[in-house]
Amino acid sequence: MRLEIKDLHVFYGKIEAIKGISITVNQGEIVTLIGANGAGKTTMLKTISGLRPVASGQILFDGKDISKVPAHERVGLGISQAPEGRGIFPGMTVLENLEIGKYFRKERKSEMVEDLEKVYSLFPRLKERATQAGGTLSGGEQQMLAIGRALMARPKVLLLDEPSMGLAPMMIANIFRIITEINNTGTTILLVEQNAQQALQRAHRAYVLETGHVVKEAKASDLLNDPAVRAAYLGTGAANH
C-alpha cells in the first residue's frame, strides 16, 4: 500500500480549498494532517475517498491514479473512511451499521462473522449495544462505531477525520490507544486531527496544513518539539498534558 497525492487542487465552486498539496502515506505508517479550522483537512480526506472531485493533480494508490474512480468503488480498492462528525446511520442498529461497512463485499457470511468479532474485540461496548439504534449512542460510542464500520471493509488505508472531536479526555486517550492498536495489526492510517498533541504522539509523520497549503512536513516527534508548531497548535495547556 502506498498513497501518494501529487499537486492536488480542489474547489468548492470558485473557492479553492486545496491549493496544490502533495503528501505521501507509506505502508504501515500513521500519518497525521494537522492544522487550524478551515485549513482543508476534511477536504483532503473527502477527495481521497472520492466525495469531492479533483480539479487537478493526482491521487496515486499503489502507483495507479484513482482520481477518476467513483467514490463507491474506492472502498473496494482498500480505502475506508470514518468521516468527520462520524456519519453514523441514525436509524440503523449498531449491527446494521457495521454490516453495511461490508456492503461492497457482497456480504460473504463467514467473513462477516469473523470481522464482526474483530471489531467487537476492539470495541466491546459495541457488542453490548448491537441492537441499539446508531442515533441513540453517545458521542464516544458513535466514534467507536464509525471506526469499527470503516474496519469492516478490511481497508488497506484507514482515513480518520477528527476521531477525538467532542470527546472527554479519557475517551480521547482510549480512542488514540485503539488507533495505535489498529495500526499495529498492519493497517495504514491517515489521521486528521485538531488535537495535535495526541496526534503527534501517535503518528510517525505529520503534515501541517494552512489554508490549502502544506506549510510543514516532518517526523511527528520532531514537530512535537518544534517551537513554531508548539506555539501555533500546542498551546501551553496542551504541552504539559
Binding site: H72, P83, P90, Y103, T136, G140, G166, L167
Partner: protein, 351 residues
C-alpha cells in the same frame, strides 16, 4: 400514544404458522369479497352515497393504494421527493389509450409496454436530476408532471383537451370479466397487482437494494463511502416507482375507457404523496392504510358536498398533528434519532 405498528408486529411475532396463515386467508377473503359488501345490510354502511361503491373501490381506492405503494419506494424507502408522480400514471394511461384504440393489442399486452415506457421516462428524467442533491428533484419532477399534462393537451395523438375515448376493456382471464357493469373484475386485478408489489417491495427491502436505499435515505455521502452505488440505486428506485405508476395508469385508462388531460393534474401527485405521508412513510402497511382511507373517505362523505374537502382537510391536519409520522410509521427506532440528538460534547459518563 400507543404504537399500533409495534403492537401489531408484536402480536404477529407471537403467532405460530397456522395462526398467521389463517389470519392472512381470512383477511384476503374479506378484501376479495369487499365489492359485494354494499349488497348486504350488515355491511351496507360501506356504500358510497353518490358514486357507485364498486367503482369507488377500483378508483380511487385500488388505484391510489397501488400508486401509493409505488411512490413509497421512491419517497419512503429512498428519500427522493417526487412531486410529479402523476406523470407516470398519465404515461401508462395514454399508452393504453393510444395503443388500445389504434392497434389490435389488448390491455394485457399493452401493460408491459405502458410500464416500460413509464420506467424509461423515469430513467431519462432520473439520470440528470438524481445526480443533484436537495430540492432539485422535487422541482424537476413537479415540472415534469405538468409538462406531460400540457403535452397531452396540445397534441393531436393524445386527443388534445378532449382526450381519447373508447379505450377497450381488458379481455377476460380465468373467466373473470372486465367491464363497466362488472367492476369487481378490475378490483380483483388491482388487488393482485397490489399483492405483487407488496411481495416485491418486501423482498427488495431485506436484500441489497433495500439496504442501499435505506443508507441513501439516511446519509447519501456515507452510503457512498460504504460502497453503495448511490446513483444506480436511486435510478432503480425512481424507475421501479415509475413502472408501478405506469401500470396503474394502464388499468385506470382501461377501466374508465376514456382518458383526458384533466385526469392527470398536480392534484393527483399531491394526493398520492399525502397517502404515503399520512399512512406512514416507508411502511407498506401504513401506506396501504393511508391510501385506502384517503381515497375512500372523501367518497363516503360526499353527502356533505361542498364542505367535504374542508372537513377532509381538517381531519388530515388534526391527524397529522396527533401522529406526525403517519398512522403506522416505520420501525420505532427510526424515530429515536429525531428526539435524542446525541450532542457532540458528551462522553464523560461513558468512559
Amino acid at each position: 400514544m400507543i404504537n399500533i405498528r409495534d403492537r401489531g408486529a408484536e402480536l404477529w411475532e407471537n403467532w405460530n404458522r397456522p395462526k398467521r396463515t389463517t389470519f392472512v386467508i381470512l383477511l384476503l377473503a374479506v378484501i376479495v369479497l369487499l365489492p359485494f359488501a354494499g349488497d348486504y345490510s350488515f355491511s351496507s354502511f360501506l356504500n358510497t352515497p353518490i358514486s357507485s361503491y364498486q367503482a369507488v373501490l377500483v378508483y380511487p381506492v385500488g388505484i391510489f393504494v397501488l400508486m401509493s405503494l409505488g411512490l413509497n419506494i421512491v419517497v419512503g424507502k429512498s428519500g427522493l421527493l417526487d412531486l410529479g408522480y402523476v406523470a407516470f400514471f398519465a404515461i401508462g394511461a395514454y399508452t393504453a389509450a393510444i395503443l388500445g384504440t389504434k392497434t389490435h393489442l389488448n390491455i394485457w399486452e399493452i401493460m408491459p409496454i405502458g410500464m416500460g415506457l413509464a420506467m424509461l421516462s423515469g430513467v431519462l428524467l432520473g439520470l440528470p436530476t438524481l445526480r443533484l442533491r436537495g430540492d432539485y428533484l422535487a422541482i424537476v419532477t413537479l415540472g415534469f408532471g405538468e409538462i406531460v399534462r400540457i403535452v397531452a393537451v396540445n397534441n393531436r395523438a393524445t386527443g388534445g383537451p378532449n382526450g381519447i375515448a373508447n379505450v377497450p376493456n381488458p379481455p377476460s382471464i380465468f373467466g373473470v370479466r372486465f367491464a363497466l357493469d362488472n367492476m369487481q373484475g378490475f378490483f380483483w386485478i388491482i388487488l393482485v397487482m397490489i399483492l405483487l408489489v407488496i411481495w416485491m417491495v418486501r423482498r427488495l427491502s431485506i436484500r441489497r437494494p433495500g439496504r442501499a436505499w435505506e443508507a441513501i435515505r439516511q446519509d447519501e455521502d456515507v452510503a457512498m463511502l460504504m460502497g453503495v452505488a448511490t446513483l444506480k440505486y436511486k435510478i432503480w428506485s425512481f424507475s421501479i416507482g415509475a413502472a408501478i405508476g405506469g401500470a396503474a395508469g394502464v388499468i385506470f385508462a382501461s377501466k374508465s375507457m376514456y382518458v383526458a388531460p384533466d385526469m392527470f393534474t398536480f392534484n393527483i401527485s399531491v394526493l398520492i404523496l399525502s397517502c404515503v405521508v399520512f399512512g406512514g412513510m416507508g411502511n407498506i402497511w401504513g401506506v396501504v392504510l393511508g391510501g385506502t382511507i384517503l381515497a375512500y373517505l372523501p367518497e363516503r362523505i360526499r353527502f356533505i358536498s361542498n364542505a367535504r374537502q374542508l372537513v377532509f382537510g381538517l381531519a388530515l391536519v388534526i391527524i397529522m398533528n396527533v401522529r406526525p409520522d403517519g398512522l403506522l410509521p416505520r420501525k420505532k427506532r427510526e424515530k429515536l434519532h429525531k428526539t435524542v440528538q446525541p450532542l457532540a460534547v458528551e462522553g464523560e459518563q461513558n468512559v
